[in-house]
């Protein structure tokens, strides 16, 4: 039974299809990666799944229930949480408060109760604080709880954003380029953390440019090119898929006809094997 099922999704901007006919599934407990060159439609796909954009066509189901066209906050409430390409922390708050925002969809007191500081609300507020602290512990930033979010270096912002997403108690996490802007050591920490998250039973779907990260981390890879899926499978297989190499290194598709000035070909690649895992 797939946790997330994307069927034939399409989305165009002013006649230009950014995502077209994309279908794939994510199984529970998986780490699935989506790769592809610039402009392949990865972020658009993420925005479609998390509800920031509405698909022109196609269907998205999560835990067996259709989430197509739902509002982002409804999708977050349904257990699907995300991070952004540029960590979008709330800069007017401190680190802990940022993570506390993540608890929003799991808590309920409204304007009146909060204004009057009703006993139940105060209790809930304490619970929010504790849960947020626990998530900061998971990403190892508990010691920064009181710092202003704007004062953090880039790498730590990513971690806070991750903690904030975890605070929503997601069944599945969408990570948009989590490793970009991180240094080598931070990338290693991130990889460990993502695996740890998966081991706690949270399924992970990530878009990533850094091949060393995504190859090492993913159980399964989907490759997009110009809005369409061109390959899917285990990392090793995808890496050696000639179509993938072609879109990445740009081996000219017409090089057979291009005559004498063609450059020497890249070394022949072994045939793709989808079961090398």
């Amino acid at each position: 039974m797939a946790l997330l099922e994307v069927t034939d999704v399409r989305r165009a901007f002013g006649g230009l299809a950014a995502v077209d006919g994309v279908s794939f599934t994510v199984k529970p407990g998986q780490i699935k990666g989506i790769i592809g060159p610039n402009g392949a439609g990865k972020t658009t796909l993420f925005n479609l799944i998390s509800g920031l954009l509405k698909p022109d066509a196609g269907r998205i189901t999560f835990r067996g229930r259709s989430i197509t066209g739902l509002k982002p906050y409804e999708i977050a409430g349904a257990g699907l949480s995300r991070t952004f390409q540029n960590p979008s922390l709330f800069l007017q708050m401190n680190v802990l408060e940022n993570v506390m925002v993540g608890r929003h969809c799991r808590t309920r007191w409204g304007f009146l109760g909060c204004g009057l500081r009703w006993p139940g609300q105060a209790r809930e507020e304490r619970a929010i604080r504790e849960a947020a602290r626990a998530q900061l512990d998971v990403v190892g930033l508990a010691h920064l709880a009181g710092w202003s979010a704007g004062a953090l270096p880039f790498g730590q912002r990513r971690m806070v954003e991750l903690a904030r997403a975890l605070a929503t108690e997601p069944a599945m996490l969408l990570l948009d380029e989590p490793a970009s802007g991180l240094n080598t050591r931070e990338k290693e920490d991130l990889g460990r953390l993502i695996r740890q998250i998966r081991d706690r039973g949270i399924t992970v779907l990530l878009v990533e440019h850094d091949m060393s990260v995504v190859m090492g981390l993913s159980d399964d890879l989907l490759v997009l090119y110009n809005g369409r899926p061109i390959a899917e499978g285990a990392p090793a297989a995808v890496q050696n898929d000639p179509r993938v190499i072609r879109v990445y290194l740009g081996e000219d598709l017409q090089n057979d006809e291009s005559g004498g000035d063609a450059p020497p070909r890249a070394p022949a690649t072994p045939p793709a094997t989808c079961c090398s895992r």
Binding site: Y73, A76, S88, Q92, M93, V101, A151
Partner: protein, 363 residues
């Protein structure tokens, strides 16, 4: 620590309020409390605007109109003579329930009007409905369009007030009766009740400040800040941004109307100048002058500036001073002139600046 600070603040403001009163009394200038009380009521409007603009990031040029809506509703209901409908069924019931009361004005004219409490409830209810009607479509608009929608609302309200005889057209309504809030506590401009009313206004402001502070330090406040900062991310974190924006708009409109009701009973009347576009701009200016997302700063600045204005310090340069101040503060200290002061106080108290703190190991 936060608990201590709360206690400190809780104690500080009553001390300041009472200190001002006793100081003025000692100086023989207790009459200044009149303008202070009026300024405090105006500050309630700006507090609501602070919530809306500073925290939720929505601009409203309609708060003058909401103030007038509250004030006019109560003024019309408490001064209009309903004795003509005495014959109707049910009026007796209303009278017995204390909703309608017989009144006599200064010149011996008797009449039957709505009791201030009932008028207050009606004003709040009306404002609630109107704010919902305006806010629901308007908050789907962004930026300049929202400003236009609220500005349009202001103009409609002010033109309706000017055009209809029920609201006294250009002269507005006067002779609004006192409001016996509780036994021994009356909202009235009589100089004998000046001190009482000063404490009443300050107490009301303090209660609302505490309530708003609680609100801002709860999940609701964090949601509002999140919406202001990054609406997309807020939505993706499970916050129903549209609903929150609407709710905070209605709440701040209600605050403005509340201020309008008290102010009208305090000064004994209301006029269309309260609903003018310039007044709404003035509230925005006051919120900006206090630093927008700074509840205490906004309240203090608004009280101080309105106080100076109501005492006529600026003479014929009143508007000019407001305009110039607005330009100066926004261009030199967009976070409000009180922010640097607050940081300085913090440092004096040996507490680190929250802005300057950088974690260990950061470059």
């Amino acid at each position: 620590m936060p608990r201590l600070r709360l206690l400190f603040l809780l104690a500080l403001f009553p001390v300041m309020v009472a200190g001002a009163q006793l100081g003025l009394r000692a100086a023989g200038m207790e009459y200044c409390l009149t303008q202070l009380t009026m300024s405090v009521y105006y500050a309630l409007v700006v507090m609501g605007l602070c919530l809306l603009m500073g925290y939720a990031g929505q601009v409203s040029l309609g708060h003058g109109a909401f103030f007038a809506l509250g004030g006019y509703t109560t003024a019309v209901l408490t001064t209009h003579d309903f004795s003509g409908i005495r014959a109707c069924a049910g009026v007796g019931v209303l009278e017995r329930a204390g909703l309608l009361v017989a009144q006599q004005d200064l010149y011996g004219q008797a009449g039957l009007s709505v009791a201030p409490w009932a008028a207050f409830a009606a004003a709040m209810l009306l404002t609630f409905v109107v704010a919902l009607l305006i806010g629901y479509p308007a908050l789907r608009l962004r930026g300049h369009y929202l400003a236009m929608a609220t500005l349009g609302f202001t103009l409609i309200v002010s033109k309706l007030l000017l055009g209809s005889a029920l609201t006294g057209s250009a002269d507005g309504i006067h002779g609004v009766p006192e409001w016996k809030l509780l036994p021994g506590l009356t909202v009235s401009g009589r100089s004998a009740l000046r001190v009482q009313n000063y404490y009443l206004a300050c107490g009301l402001a303090l209660l609302l400040l505490l309530g708003l502070r609680n609100l801002l330090r709860s999940r609701v406040g964090r949601a509002l800040l999140a919406i202001h900062d990054r609406e997309t991310a807020a939505n993706a974190m499970g916050i129903n941004t549209a609903a929150y924006k609407l709710k905070v708009f209605v709440l701040s409109a209600l605050l403005a109307a509340l201020a309008g009701v008290f102010f009208t009973h305090y000064t004994g009347g209301i006029a269309p100048s309260e609903a003018g576009a310039l007044k709404s701009v003035r509230y925005v200016a006051l919120a900006a002058a206090g630093g927008m997302a700074n509840l205490w700063g906004v309240t203090v600045m608004s009280i101080a500036l309105n106080y100076c204005s109501l005492r006529g310090w600026f003479g014929s340069y009143d508007n000019a001073v407001f305009g110039a101040l607005l330009i100066l503060i926004i261009s030199l200290a967009p976070e409000g002139p009180l922010k640097p002061l607050g940081l300085w106080l913090r440092r004096l108290a040996g507490r680190p600046d929250p802005e300057r703190r950088t974690p260990h190991g950061a470059p």
